[in-house]
Structure formats: C-alpha cells, structure tokens
Amino acid sequence: MRYWYGFYGICQRELLRFLTQKARFASALVRPLLWLIVFAAGFRAALGIAIIEPYATYINYEEYILPGLCAMILLFNGMQSSLSMVYDREMGSMKILLTCPLPRWFLLLSKMIAVAFISLLQVSVFLLFAYFYGLELAPMGYFYGLLAMLLAAIMLNGLGMIIGAWVKQLENFAGVMNFVIFPMFFISSALYPLWKMQEASNWLYQLCRFNPFTSAVELIRFACYQHFNATAFYVVLGCGIIFMLLAIISFSTERFNQN
C-alpha cells in the first residue's frame, strides 16, 4: 500500500500544482491553438500535402499538423515539469521527496507518469478545441491517439528529467529549453512531412529521421487514424526506457553529492 499511496500522493500534488498555475494551463493551450489557427491558415496555401500514410486522401494542412501540435504540448509540458524539478530543488521541496521511505527510482517513475497524465489532460482540452474548429477524429482514433501520447509523454518526460538533473539553477534552464525544445520540434515531422524536408535538404532530413520526437509525432499521427507505426513505436519505447534509466542514474545519490 505504501507504494500505491506514494504514487497517488505524487500524482495528486502534480495535479494540484497544475490547477493552481492557471497561467501555465492557458499558455499550454494558447501556444498550439495559435499554431493551428494562425500559422496553419497562413501556410495552407503555400504547403500542399500529398497523399501519404496514414492518410487515405488529400488533407488540409491543419489536419496534418494536429498530431504534431499534440506532441508539442507533450514536449513543452515534459520540459516544464523538469523546470519544476529545478524549482523544487532550489526551493527545497525536493528534499521531502528524497527523504521519504520509498526508493528513488520509484519516485522518479511516479513523477514521470504523473506529469504524463497532466500532459494528456492538456492535450484532451486542446483536442476539444480542435473538434469545434472542425478537426474531428474517429472515436477510436482519440482512444489510440491518447495511448500513443501516453507513451510519447513518458519518453519526453524522461528526457526532461535528465536535463532537470543536470541543470543546477533556474537561470541556466531557459537556455537549455531553447537548445532542446525548439530544435527537437522544428527538426521533426511535426510541421512538414519528411519528404518535403528531403526536397529542401538531405542532411536536415537525416536529422529529422533520427530525432526521437519525429517518431513520437508519427506514432501519434498513425494512432489517431487507427494505424500502427511499428518503427515509431519501437523507437519511442526504446528511447523511453533509455531516458528513464539515465534519469534514474542522474538522480542517484552520487549525482547529488556533486551538486
């Protein structure tokens, strides 16, 4: 029962903190909505999307970027949660977590899952807005899409935790956000299909291919249309496990000694 209550406590705290930070929730929604309503409207005419998997027909640009924007919410929230870990460490509240009678790997894993659920909550609200904007998925598409997003969120949270473990001060974190979030997002298939990228530059295309965020986007895209992208699944799963292990190692006692 101790493990269950520990997990429940961490999830509840993350939810309470999220609900008390209304600006964080608003910005998490405004960002993808701006991309969807303003950016996509402008680019719709300039970018033609050919028939590519998993789409059965020609699609609007808005429809193309919808999974990428869902992944963007997961990416930003994953990084923001690691920012909150840096804040917790600076403010001292991290010590309460570290001095409870539960193993650190369990605490970290619980935090990753808790943050993933918060991310899914944000994505669900975004998808509701998208629905009223005219972007509708099949009911099972929502179900499979959210499952794919849960896996992608855990991978991205793992990456965020690694960064959070190595960043000692909040001031440094802003720089890391710019060096991680924006390159990951733009050098991916979130905004443009990979074949478009290949037309523009081969080396950029190769970077996109090996970016795990591209796999996260593609896994979500296929799942939203009730298809399974096995390559993307294994990349996200593999990277998720590696990031999780590295995060646990980073938060070991030895790491705190150095801090």
Binding site: M1, R2, Y5, G6, Y8, G9, I10, Q12, R13, L16, R17, T20, Q21, M91, G92, S93, K95, I96, L97, L98, T99, C100, P101, L102, P103, R104, T253, E254, F256, N257
Partner: protein
C-alpha cells in the same frame, strides 16, 4: 555502540571535491534533546544531508537501531523526522494538502494522515488553519507546520537543522519549549543544529562542531566542568579558538 542508542555515527568524513566538510565525526544520539552547536560552515548541514541520505556516505558509517544505513537504504527514513534549514513546504498548497502529500509519501491514506496530524496540529495551535494556503502563514507558523509534518509518522529521531532561523526570540523560545516537551512525552531523540549558544539549556546534551571536526560532546554543565569555564559560551569560545 550502546544498545539504547537509536542513531550512531561512526568515523564519518565527507569532502566536497578536495575540500573536507566533515572529518572523522563519531557520536551516539541519546534519548532527549541534543544540541549540535557550530558556527556557520561548521558542517552541520552536511551532517544532516548524510543522516537523511540526500548525500551518499564517502567514509565512515551511520547506524539506525545498530544497522548500517548502507544496508537499510531508504527504509531508515521511516524512523526519521526532518526539518531542514530551508523551508520545504509547498507554498501554493494548503496546510492540509501539504500534510496529505507527506502522509501519502509515508504510506498513509488521507484519513490516516489527518488522524496522525490532528493532535500535533492542536499542540502547535494550527488546527483551525487547516485549509489556509501555506503562503499566508508567517515564518513562525511555517516552522511549526514543518515540525508537525516531521512528527506525523511518529519517528524515533527528529532532526532539526537551524529551526529557529528567522524567528523572533519569543517564538524561538516557544519552539524550543515545545520540542523539549515532545522529547519528554514521546521519548524521542532530537538533534537540534544551531549556531546560537543560548538555545542550549543546562540539561541538554551538546555536540560542538567546528570546521568539520567534533570538538566535544557531553551535557552542558559537564562541559563547563571539564573545561573549567563559567558558561557554555566560554567553553565554545575556548574550543573553537584552539582549532
């Protein structure tokens, strides 16, 4: 090691890089109040970080119930209540939410957490403010809440790292009185780290730490007799000026 001692530290040393922070520190914590006296930078917070396993042990060992923490690992934390020098409360949550969170981390349900905290909240006069956000509490009440939280799981050892920082003299005295009452009533061992000599009473056990070295241990009046000084402050001055 004495069988009655719940916490014992043996030949503990710790370095930050090449800079020594603790050098060969050994002591046993008796039941009752123990004052860990040392100036800023003496190594008190490093010792607390080692006792709470935030830092890993580099040299020496720490024993709870005569079992090494290297064997016990995180399970040792169930016997330990800690109040850190820096506040560890979540300011945006209420008193109740902070207590529930801590209770859950120690394996208690919401109701169990409340049941365990209720008598302590009454003792520390916080029972009517359960649903107030911590941000609205003054520093004295925040300290009290941290002690309530540290005692919720009925630990055998309570570690207080400079708990009176930021408190006025009256609040400081009140806090010390409540903690001494707790020692008597609940038979717990308290390690109270401070740089303020006046926080030690004659009956307290005292550890004097300076530049990472434990210079003396004993009851306040015993130390005065041993070093032939009129007060603990003079004992402290004599010992720290020798290093």
């Amino acid at each position: 090691m004495n069988n009655n001692q719940l916490l014992a530290v043996q030949q503990l040393s710790f370095n930050y890089g090449h800079k020594p922070a603790l050098i060969d520190v050994s002591f046993e914590l008796p039941q009752g109040m123990t004052i860990l006296l040392g100036p800023n930078g003496a190594g008190k917070s490093t010792l607390f970080s080692l006792l709470t396993q935030i830092y890993g042990i580099q040299q020496g060992d720490i024993y709870f119930n005569q079992i090494s923490v290297t064997k016990l690992g995180y399970q040792a934390m169930q016997w330990l209540g800690v109040v850190f020098q820096q506040s560890t409360l979540d300011l945006d949550l209420t008193i109740a939410q902070n207590l529930y969170y801590f209770g859950h981390l120690h394996g208690y349900s919401r109701q169990q957490s409340l049941t365990k905290a209720q008598p302590l909240l009454m003792q520390f006069e916080l029972q009517h403010r359960l649903h107030e956000k911590v941000r609205r509490l003054n520093s004295g009440h925040r300290r009290r809440l941290e002690i309530v939280r540290a005692l919720m799981h009925q630990p055998k050892v309570l570690l207080l790292d400079e708990p009176s920082v930021g408190l006025d003299p009256a609040s400081r005295q009140a806090l010390a009185d409540v903690v001494r009452d707790l020692c008597r009533e609940q038979k717990i061992s308290v390690l109270w780290a401070t740089h303020l000599i006046e926080e030690a009473s004659d009956a307290d056990h005292v550890l004097i730490l300076n530049q990472g070295q434990l210079l003396a241990t004993g009851r306040s009046h015993e130390l005065q007799n041993r070093y032939q000084q009129a007060s603990l402050a003079e004992v402290f001055m004599v010992l720290t000026s020798e290093v």
